[in-house]
C-alpha cells in the first residue's frame, strides 16, 4: 500500500507533533490533576506513535525500541504510579498556578514562537521530520513553563515529564533518536527519577501537611 509513500509519513509525523502540542496546551489550560496525568499519558501515546512512524518510515530499527519503551513507561507505568501517589497524598486534586489560565495560554503561545525561532535554522524541507523540531522546542519550553507556573509537587513533575517528551521528540526529529545505549540510559534515568519523585512527594506529604511547594520558604538568604 503506502509502503514508500514518504509524503504520507511526513504528514503523519507532523500531525502527531501537532497533536502533542495541542495536548500540551490543554495541560496548560486545565485545572484537575488526574486529568493532567491522563493528558500526559495521551501525549506520550502520540509520541510513541510518532516514534513508531519515524522508525517505520526511515527504517531506523532502534527507534522501534524507543517507541516501545515510551509506550510502556510513559503511557502506562508512570501515569499509574503518579495516580498512586496522588491517592496516597491526601490532598485536593487541584493544580494551583501562579498565573491564571488565559495568561498562561498566552505565554505558551509566545513560547511556541520562540520554539520556531530557535528551530528555524534547522528546518530543511527536503529532509523528513525536521519540521517537528520547532514543536519539540516549544514543548520543552512549555513544560519548563508549567514547572514554574504550578505549585503542586506532582504538577511540577508532570511539567518536567512533558519537557522530557519534548526532548525525545527533538531527538527523533533531529537524528532519529540517540544511539541506543544512550536512549536506554535516558529511559532508565527518567524511570528512577520518577520513582524518587514519588518517594519524595510521599515523604513531603507525610511531614508537611501539604504538597504546595510554594510553602517551601524555610531556606532563604
Amino acid at each position: 500500500m503506502f509502503y514508500d509513500d514518504i509524503e504520507l509519513g511526513t504528514r503523519l509525523i507532523t500531525l502527531m507533533a501537532a497533536a502533542m502540542l495541542v495536548v500540551q496546551f490543554l495541560m496548560v489550560g486545565q485545572r484537575l490533576l488526574p486529568t493532567a496525568i491522563r493528558l500526559f499519558s495521551l501525549q506520550s501515546l502520540f509520541l510513541a506513535c510518532l516514534a513508531g512512524t519515524v522508525a517505520y518510515v526511515n527504517q531506523a530499527r532502534h527507534v522501534y525500541i524507543a517507541a516501545a519503551l515510551t509506550l510502556l513507561l510513559k503511557v502506562i507505568v508512570m501515569p499509574l504510579f503518579l495516580n498512586r501517589i496522588l491517592e496516597r497524598a491526601t490532598e485536593k486534586a487541584e493544580v494551583e498556578s501562579h498565573l491564571n489560565t488565559p495568561a498562561s495560554i498566552l505565554i505558551c503561545g509566545g513560547l511556541t514562537l520562540v520554539g520556531y525561532m530557535v528551530a528555524h535554522p534547522f528546518i530543511k524541507p527536503h529532509e523528513r521530520g525536521h519540521s517537528t523540531l520547532a514543536v519539540a522546542t516549544a514543548l520543552f519550553l512549555m513544560g519548563f513553563f508549567l514547572m514554574m507556573n504550578r505549585r503542586k509537587a506532582i504538577s511540577q513533575v508532570l511539567g518536567l515529564l512533558t519537557a522530557e517528551n519534548g526532548l525525545f521528540l527533538a531527538a527523533i526529529s533531529l537524528t532519529y533518536g540517540m544511539p541506543l545505549i544512550v536512549e536506554l540510559g535516558i529511559f532508565f534515568d527518567v524511570l528512577i527519577a520518577v520513582m524518587i519523585f514519588g518517594i519524595l512527594v510521599y515523604r513531603i506529604s507525610e511531614i508537611f501537611d501539604s504538597m504546595d511547594t510554594n510553602k517551601f520558604r524555610r531556606l532563604r538568604g
Binding site: 520562540v114 519548563f144 513553563f145 514554574m148 520558604r217 532563604r220 538568604g221
Partner: protein
C-alpha cells in the same frame, strides 16, 4: 672565606634560628617557661646573625642570591636577593629583634597561666621570619606570599588577647585593611607582569619606562595605596591606632618599629627600582601625603590619653616624615638632580632606622609601665619616675629622640630632611618649588607638636604624684626588660652622636638606586660633622654639641661652689594655695594639658564635652562633678563608616534573590535561557 659566603652563611643561620624558635615553642607548647626561654633566645640569636649578615653585606657590598625552597611552581621561584636595600631593612629588623627578644624574656612572664606564652613566642618568631623574607624576596609572587603571611601572623598576634571584643575588632580591621592593600599590590604587580611575562624582580628593574603612561600611573596609585595601608599613611591609617595598642607590647614594638616600615620598603623598592624616572606629580603626591600624615598623626596623638594609642599615632607621624624625604627624593629625580635625590632618600632611610629604634624603645617602656600598673590610661599614672627610675629614664630618652631634639638620632634625620627640602628650592624655577619650604615649615610644626605631646606623655605618666593606687604600688621592671630597653637606648644615642659612621652604610643603596654615593660629601670635619653636601650649605655636629655642653658645665657648677653651696637648701611642699596639702586630684591632667590645642584645632577634632555636676547648697558648692570629652575620628566618620554601612545595606537588600521560592528559582533559569537564545540570535 669571602664576604659573600659569610653573608650567606649568617643569613641562613638567621632564618633557621627563627624557624628553630618557632618549632621549639610549638614543641614545648605545654611548658611555657621553656618555650619562652627557647623561643625568644632563638629570636635573639637570629637577630644577631641577621645584623651580622646585613652589616657585612652593606659594608663589603656583597649582594648574594640564594634559594630558600628547592621546588618551583608555575610563575613562582622562592629565591631571595640580599641587595643593599634589603640588607638595610634586615639590619633594622634584626636590631630590633635582638632588643625585643631580650625584653620579652621578662615581659611575657606576666602571661604565665593566663595566656599561652608558647603561642606568643612561636608567632613572634614567625612574624620576624616572614618580615625578614619580605625585605629580601626576589620574586613578586613570593613577595606577595611572605607579605600576606606577615599580615596573617601579625593578625594572630594582635588577636592574642582575643577575649576582649575590642581586640577582636582591632584584629579584624587590621587584617581586612591590609588585605585590601594586598589586593592593590596584586593588581599593581600584574600590571608590571604584563610587560615582563614573569614575576622576577630582576626583570622588573626599570620596567616602568616600557609601560604606557596610563598603566604607569595606575600602577603608581595601586602601589601607593597597597603599601600605604601597611605604612599607615592617612587616610588609610585607621587600623593602626586600633591594632598596635591591643597587641602585647613587645609585638607592638615590632609592629610599629618594623612591620609598618615594610610599606616604606615596598615603596622604595617599587618606585625607585622598578618604575624608572617618575613624573613630577608622583613626588608631589607622596610629599603631600607625608606632610598630611605627619601633621594629622601628631595632632591626633596630642589628644590621646591611652599611652600606647598615643605612640601608635606617632608612628603615623613619623611615617609621614619618612615619606616627606622620599617624596622630595622622587621630585628631585624627576628634576634630574640625582645627588639631591640621594640626599633626600638618605634622610628618609635614616629616619626609618631611627624611628624604628626610638619607637620600639618607647613601646617597650610603655609595656613596662603597663606591666607594672596594669593600665594604659595616662590619667591613672604619675610619679613613676621614682618607682621605676630606669624605665622612666629610657622613656624620657626615647621622647627626646622622637621629638627630634638634639643631640639624639631623631634630630639628625630631621635635619637631613630639612636640608634636602631647602636645597630642593633651587632645583626648579616653577611655582611648585614653594612646596619645599612649606613642607619644611610643616615639619617644624610637627616636631614642635611632637615635643608638646611627649612633654605631656612623660610629664603626666612619670612625673609628679601617682594618680591611682596601681601607680602608687608600681615596681621597677625586671632586669631583662631593662636590658632590652638599654640596647635600643644605646642605639638611639649612637645613631645620634655618630651618624658619620652609619651613613656610609646607606651609600650602596643610593648607589644602586640613583647611581650616587654621597656619604663622603655629607660627612665633613673628618667625621665630626654632618654637612648638607658641603660646609657652606650648612652643617651640624651633635658630638660637638655634647662636648661643648660638657665643656660649659663647669660654669654654673663653679658659681654653685662659689656662692650657693653654703646657703641653706631644703625640701618643702609644693605651693598649694594655702590648702592643707596637695592631692593628686589637684594635679594637671592629660586632658587639661591638651586642652588649648584641642580648642585651637577645634575644626579638626570636633570635640564633644559633657559635664554632669550635682550640687549641695548652691551651684558654687559642687558635691561631685563628672567631666567627659570626646573627639570625633573624622576619617572613620566621614569615609569608612558610611562606606561600610552602604555595603552591608546593599547586601541585605540583595538577599531577596534567595527568597526561598522554587518557582522564582526556575524563573531565573528560564529567563537566562530565553535571554541567551535571544543573544545568540542577534549575535
Amino acid at each position: 672565606m669571602n664576604s659573600e659566603a659569610i653573608v650567606v652563611f649568617s643569613f641562613r643561620v638567621c632564618l633557621s634560628a627563627y624557624l628553630a624558635g618557632f618549632a621549639s615553642s610549638i614543641v614545648f607548647v605545654r611548658r611555657e617557661r621553656v618555650a619562652n626561654f627557647f623561643g625568644f633566645s632563638c629570636a635573639g640569636i637570629g637577630g644577631l646573625a641577621g645584623c651580622a649578615a646585613s652589616l657585612c653585606a652593606l659594608a663589603y657590598g656583597a649582594t648574594p642570591t640564594l634559594a630558600v625552597w628547592p621546588f618551583k611552581m608555575p610563575l613562582f621561584t622562592f629565591t631571595i636577593h640580599l641587595d643593599a636595600l634589603a640588607c638595610f631593612f634586615i639590619l633594622v629588623i634584626s636590631l630590633l629583634t635582638i632588643a625585643i627578644s631580650i625584653y620579652s624574656q621578662g615581659y611575657v612572664t606576666q602571661y604565665y597561666g593566663i595566656k599561652n606564652v608558647s603561642v606568643l613566642a612561636a608567632f613572634f618568631n614567625l612574624l620576624v621570619f616572614c618580615n625578614t623574607l619580605v625585605f629580601c624576596a626576589d620574586n613578586a609572587a613570593f613577595f606577595l606570599i611572605t607579605w600576606e603571611m606577615m599580615a596573617l601572623v601579625a593578625y594572630l598576634l594582635v588577636s592574642f588577647e582575643h577575649e576582649e571584643s575590642r581586640t577582636r575588632q582591632a584584629g579584624f580591621l587590621f587584617f581586612a585593611m591590609s588585605h585590601i592593600g594586598t589586593g592593590c599590590l596584586i593588581l599593581g604587580f600584574l600590571l608590571l607582569f604584563r610587560a615582563t611575562g614573569n614575576f622576577d624582580f630582576l626583570a622588573f628593574h626599570f620596567i616602568g619606562a616600557s609601560l604606557s603612561p596610563m598603566e604607569r600611573n595606575a600602577a603608581f596609585l595601586l602601589f601607593l595605596i597597597g603599601f600605604g595601608v601597611k605604612a599607615g599613611i592617612i587616610p588609610l591609617h585607621i587600623w593602626l591606632p586600633e591594632a598596635h595598642p591591643v597587641a602585647p607590647s613587645n609585638v607592638s614594638a615590632l609592629m610599629s618599629g618594623v612591620l609598618i616600615k615594610s610599606g616604606v620598603y615596598g615603596l622604595v623598592r617599587v618606585l625607585w627600582d622598578f618604575m624608572g624616572t617618575p613624573p613630577v606629580w608622583w613626588g608631589i603626591t607622596i610629599l603631600l601625603v607625608g606632610s598630611v600624615s605627619a601633621l594629622l598623626g601628631v595632632l591626633y596623638a596630642l589628644v590621646e590619653h591611652n599611652l600606647k594609642r598615643l605612640l601608635a599615632f606617632h608612628s603615623i607621624e613619623n611615617i609621614g616624615i619618612i615619606l616627606m624625604g622620599l617624596g622630595a627624593s622622587l621630585m628631585f629625580s624627576s628634576f634630574h638632580h640625582p645627588v639631591l635625590a640621594a640626599l633626600a632618600l638618605m634622610a628618609g632611610l635614616y629616619h626609618t632606622i631611627n624611628h624604628a629604634c626610638f619607637k620600639a624603645l618607647l613601646f617597650l617602656g610603655a609595656g613596662a609601665v603597663l606591666r607594672a600598673t596594669k593600665t594604659k590610661s595616662m590619667e591613672e599614672l604619675g610619679g613613676l619616675i621614682k618607682k621605676m627610675p630606669w624605665t622612666a629614664f629610657f622613656f624620657l630618652l626615647g621622647s627626646v629622640a622622637i621629638s627630634g631634639l638634639p643631640p639624639l638620632n631623631g634630630f639628625v634625620s630631621e635635619w637631613l630632611t630639612y636640608q634636602a627640602l631647602l636645597q630642593g628650592f633651587s632645583t626648579t624655577e616653577r611655582l611648585v618649588r614653594l612646596i619645599f619650604p612649606i613642607a619644611g615649615a610643616l615639619l617644624a610644626l610637627t616636631g614642635a607638636l611632637a615635643a608638646a605631646c611627649f612633654v605631656k606623655a612623660v610629664g603626666i605618666s612619670f612625673l609628679a604624684m601617682p594618680r591611682s593606687p596601681e601607680a602608687e604600688s608600681a615596681e621597677e621592671a625586671p632586669s631583662s626588660m631593662l636590658l632590652g630597653m638599654l640596647v635600643l637606648a644605646l642605639a638611639c644615642v649612637m645613631l645620634g652622636l655618630f651618624p658619620s659612621t652609619f651613613l656610609p652604610l646607606l651609600d650602596p643603596i643610593c648607589q644602586g638606586l640613583l647611581g650616587q654615593a654621597i656619604s663622603a660629601r655629607v660627612i665633613g670635619g673628618n667625621g665630626w660633622m654632618l654637612t648638607a653636601l658641603g660646609l657652606e650649605q650648612g652643617s651640624i655636629s651633635t658630638l660637638g654639641m655634647v662636648s661643648l655642653f660638657l665643656a660649659l658645665l663647669p660654669l654654673p657648677w663653679v658659681s654653685w661652689l662659689l656662692f650657693s653651696r653654703k646657703a641653706p637648701h631644703s625640701i618643702g611642699e609644693t605651693w598649694d594655695c594655702g590648702l592643707d596639702r596637695l592631692t593628686p586630684q589637684m594635679e594637671y591632667t592629660a586632658t587639661a594639658y591638651s586642652k588649648p590645642l584641642r580648642m585651637i584645632f577645634r575644626a579638626l577634632y570636633r570635640p564633644r564635652r559633657q559635664v554632669e555636676a550635682d550640687f549641695e547648697v548652691s551651684r558654687y558648692f559642687t558635691k561631685s562633678i563628672r567631666f567627659e570629652t570626646h573627639i570625633e575620628p573624622t576619617f572613620e566618620k566621614l569615609i569608612y563608616e558610611p562606606l561600610h554601612r552602604a555595603i552591608l545595606r546593599v547586601s541585605q537588600r540583595l538577599r531577596w534573590i534567595q527568597a526561598g521560592s522554587l518557582n522564582t528559582y526556575l524563573l531565573y533559569i528560564f529567563i537566562t535561557l530565553l535571554l541567551l537564545l535571544l543573544w545568540e540570535k542577534i549575535r
